[in-house]
Symmetry: C2
Subunit: 84 residues, 2 copies
């Protein structure tokens, strides 16, 4: 595995797991008032398109990264609605 | 330009401009308490790696999308520190 591929995997992992602390914080504080609803919807719409893009190209890294990020952001959205 | 390329451009645009409403909300409410500091740091680190990845591959879409997203998240981080 060459350097660039490893760099891409680490980048994808970071921009995916980055949302775990946001899920944890929202769940712990029972508050997501400062998290923009429009940002979540726009971001998740983009993630769905990235997911379709990855499926069409049969690109597992794109499918994996974006489906996990989508699930995490869906949880943040759900918690934001729940704790409104 | 084929369908898949257009899909990728729209996906990249959405997951980039999605952070504009978050910048606007944080600037307007002068509060980012609910936005996870760790998420911002981890996400921005990942964006830096994606930027290096794009520069190495000379892939303009990856460079553009991730540099704009990085700037927007940097502003959110700066506002979060400012309004602590």
């Amino acid at each position: 595995m060459d350097f660039v591929t490893i760099l891409g995997i680490v980048a994808a992992t970071l921009t995916t797991i980055a949302f775990l602390p946001q899920v944890w914080r929202t769940w712990k504080t029972k508050s997501a008032k400062d998290v923009s609803f429009i940002m979540l919807i726009a971001f998740m719409s983009g993630l769905v398109l990235w997911l379709i893009y990855g499926i069409i190209l049969n690109a597992l890294p794109i499918i994996l990264a974006n489906s996990i990020t989508l699930v995490l952001n869906f949880i943040i959205l759900w918690l934001k609605i729940k704790y409104r």
